[in-house]
Amino acid sequence: MAVAATAAAHAHGHAHNRLQLNRVGLWLFFFSESIVFGLLLTSRFFLMGVDREHVDQQLGLIITIILLLSSVTAFTAETAIEQDRRRLASWMLLATILLGVIFTVGVGFEWSIAEFNRKEVFGTVFFTMTGIHATHVVTGVIMLFLVWVQLKRGKFSSRDHFAVSGTVMYWHFVDVVWVFYYPALYLIGNVVTPGQ
């Protein structure tokens, strides 16, 4: 009896250590990604100062709110699986995927109507920053889809759901990046026209 209890405690401790290692590893990944995104943000101000070219303000606000909404659905999915509410988690993961796709389409549309091109300084900055961010959004959508498939196959429960939490945290990280990119590209700066 005592041996069984000791073994169970040992197994619980081992699982907990693994979970902590997963979390720390994920945060280290976020910090390394922050360096890339931070450098791009710095280059925007280094190359353009507080100037920028005209971008569609309404579209910028709409896609920002869509990404914010997707963070709410992702949060709901994670909280639902923590409470073993699998059906709600499944629907919320799907909603997050859909909102991520809409955001990406919005960025693509912004690219198509942009009044600058990639050969201009602001164009280079804008397309690089939004392009790398959108690539991360697409990666997040793929990961969310894979997690959703696993969830539908009966995986994950309130006791074992790090894949869901990790993917949702990645999604929030993508949102955090946009929290800085949105004002830097759309809001801050005097609007200048090319050649000025």
Binding site: W27, I65, L68, D160, H172, F173, V179, L187, I188
Partner: protein, 66 residues
């Protein structure tokens, strides 16, 4: 239910801050004030997302339920 509610309150605060950011940026002309104001708003938003959505403090926890 409490876990959901806390997240939704944070989400509403984030939405309000985003709208305030937009209105502030569109109506303000002083670039320095705009830069400082928008940076402060962005840091506040990131703090909330990190604390409540990304559970930053969990990496310092030694033991928990699941």
């Amino acid at each position: 239910m409490k876990a959901f509610q806390k997240g939704y309150v944070v989400a509403i605060l984030l939405a309000v801050l985003t709208i305030v950011e937009y209105i502030f940026a569109v109506n303000f002309d002083n670039e320095l004030v705009k830069f400082v104001g928008l940076s402060a708003a962005a840091l506040a938003k990131v703090g909330m997302i990190g604390a409540y959505f990304m559970h930053f403090m969990r990496i310092f926890k030694t033991e928990e339920a699941h």
